[in-house]
């Protein structure tokens, strides 16, 4: 069974789906690291908040009688992106802005503090229990059948992958073409110089956080729809893996983040499928260590020369 192509395909599909979710979160990490040089430790919690806002929105829409699924999805998507972005914006404004010129350790401690705060904030407000939701989108198409094993591609998986691709295209264009994207790249290179030539650095950084949060919230919604259950702690593990993905792909590179996400998703799916499921997280952490030792700039990143 395990050696059949069908099984392999199944894991592949699972991995790509999972990887898309990780990739969307990873983009937030990589953009923030690129522009202010810090790991936004609380970004995983932003993802989690996106998931919670999504579930609440779905329940409200259900109670309000909105049953046409595409409409519900659209509304929840917009609502989640909007409200979660506010969290992202507030995070930067309240916790990180003041510490931009402080030693990195202070910023990291603050980030960890915010992560703990947000986790417990949601836990206290929404209780520590799992929150399950009835599957909204079910069914799929059958892709392959080998002996008795059926590989199916669910509609949910298709939506996730398509939505991810669409978002990637939109945001890549945004970075490449728009003034915001240019401002962002300028700030990444040299913040002080960018300010001197008239770039509104504060606003650029805020918008970076907002965009990252929006993408993470989409990931949160997808996670909710795909797995059907969330809790206040999903941000921690997803956050670390998404950060691993960002590093793997090359910190500071948007396509790298998505590539890294897909790779991590695939590694996790294949590890669970072919070895053991208990140690799949160990696999992810090990990847992080190996990448940082042997290729710290990641797959698509630019090499860094030490300035003495």
């Amino acid at each position: 069974m395990q050696h059949s192509f069908a099984y392999f395909l199944d894991q592949l599909i699972n991995g790509l789906t999972l990887g898309s979710i990780y990739g969307l979160i990873a983009i937030g990490y990589t953009m923030v690291y690129g522009i202010i040089g810090m790991i936004n430790f609380a970004h995983g919690e932003i993802f989690m908040i996106g998931a919670f806002i999504s579930i609440i929105s779905f329940l409200l829409l259900g109670a309000a009688g909105v049953t046409w699924i595409p409409l519900a999805l659209f509304i929840v998507l917009i609502v989640a992106m909007l409200l979660t972005s506010v969290y992202g914006w507030t995070l930067e404004r309240v916790a990180y802005r003041r510490l931009r010129r402080s030693p990195r350790l202070a910023a990291l401690i603050t980030a960890i503090g915010m992560s703990i705060f947000l986790q417990n904030y949601v836990q206290l407000l929404q209780s520590a229990r799992n929150k399950p939701m009835q599957p909204i989108i079910s069914g799929g198409i059958e892709v392959l059948q080998q002996e008795d094993y059926i590989v199916s591609l669910s509609y949910m998986q298709m939506i996730i992958m398509v939505l991810t691709v669409v978002l990637m295209v939109i945001f890549s264009q945004m970075i490449a073409r728009t003034p915001l994207g240019r401002a962002q790249r300028a700030c990444e290179q040299d913040r002080d110089m960018a300010a001197l030539i008239g770039v509104n650095v504060d606003r650029t950084i805020s918008l970076t956080f907002v965009v990252g949060a929006a993408l993470a919230s989409v990931a949160g919604m997808m996670f909710l729809l795909y797995y059907g259950v969330i809790d206040f702690f999903i941000g921690f593990l997803a956050g670390i893996k998404a950060f691993t993905a960002a590093v793997l792909g090359g910190i500071g590179s948007l396509p790298g983040a998505m590539l890294g996400g897909l790779l991590i998703g695939l590694i996790e799916a294949f590890w669970s499928g072919y070895f053991t499921v208990e140690y799949k997280d160990v696999a992810a952490f090990s990847i992080l260590v190996l990448v940082l030792i042997f290729r710290p700039t990641g797959l698509l990143g630019k090499p860094d020369i030490e300035k003495v």
Binding site: P303, I305, E306, V308
Partner: protein
């Protein structure tokens, strides 16, 4: 390319400025990806002499230092240090060993002190390896044994000596980060000297110093050369320092050596003038006169602060 593949350079017999050979740099090339920072540079530096490396910005001077002191691995080149205890190939040494085993000390373009440690502590840290051995790799030290206490007292004495030489005794217990700029530069030199090196590499030691401080720096470096009898390698832009105290000057431009000789030779070298000032025809007469003026020692320096 290993040192074996580097062809020996056929230098002239005398090093400009005289002296015995301390450092031999042969075919040094440093490439960063597609960028060639240093292109086949060869020169010698003598013991008990001050050798200056000058050149326009971006010429590759600090890169040479980084290759000599173990921060970069040269793409090609043989860097031989003729240490009293035997020759050392610097390009083979792991980063920190250039100080530990080869006795090469350096200062940095952007001062790198230990800002939250005191001036005295900075100098004690410089004597780390000596003290580590004396403390039995910490074990003797933990038990307060006499051998370590004596070694620490000797270290303090050496530190005090250099504090004296650099005029920092009163500020010995200040945090190094609180020192005024000029004092920080001198502290960095004092710290380098506390490692008891055979070759002292200084990266723009006069940057940001006023004329009086530059003059004191000159005196300090001459003292180091004459009393401690080591070689001094100097990257500098301040011509009042370079021309006044150098015995030997090497000029780099765009990663290549364009001149190598005594100060008098270098000053007249058209290649140098061109690199710094453009074509000779374009240089104003009064500037050319001014270049010659600097040689007559100390007229423009040493004014009261």
């Amino acid at each position: 390319m290993s040192a074996v593949d580097v062809l020996p350079v056929d230098f002239a017999d005398e090093i400009p400025g005289g002296g015995t050979e301390l450092l031999t740099v042969e075919h040094l090339t440093m490439r960063f990806g597609g960028l060639v920072a240093i292109d086949d540079v060869s020169f010698r530096a003598a013991n008990e002499r001050i050798t200056a490396i000058i050149g326009p910005n971006g010429a590759g001077k600090t890169t040479v230092f980084n290759c000599l002191t173990g921060f970069y691995k040269p793409t090609v080149g043989r860097l031989s240090l003729h240490h009293p205890k035997g020759d050392v190939l610097l390009e083979r040494l792991e980063g920190f060993r250039t100080s530990q085993s080869a006795g090469v000390a350096r200062t940095f373009q952007n001062i790198r002190l230990f800002p939250r440690m005191t001036v005295l502590e900075n100098l004690i840290v410089a004597q780390h390896n000596k003290l580590m051995r004396a403390s039995g790799y910490t074990v003797f030290g933990l038990f307060g044994m006499k051998r370590y206490r004596d070694a620490e007292a000797a270290a303090i004495e050496l530190a005090r000596y250099w504090l004296d030489r650099t005029g920092l005794v009163e500020k010995a217990d200040w945090d190094a980060g609180n020192l005024p700029y000029g004092d920080q530069r001198r502290l960095e030199i004092a710290r380098a000297m506390c490692t008891e090196p055979v070759l002292l590499c200084l990266d723009e030691p006069a940057a940001g110093l006023n004329p009086r401080e530059s003059h004191e720096l000159n005196r300090l470096l001459i003292y180091v050369r004459d009393e401690h009898r080591i070689g001094v390698l100097l990257i500098e832009h301040d011509m009042s320092v370079v021309m006044e105290i150098s015995d030997h000057i090497v000029v780099l431009d765009y990663g290549r050596k364009i001149s190598d000789g005594t100060p008098e030779q270098v000053r007249e070298d058209p290649a140098v003038i061109r690199a710094y000032l453009g074509e000779p025809e374009e240089i104003e007469e009064h500037v050319r006169e001014a270049l010659k003026q600097d040689d007559r020692g100390g007229d423009t320096t040493g004014e009261g602060g």
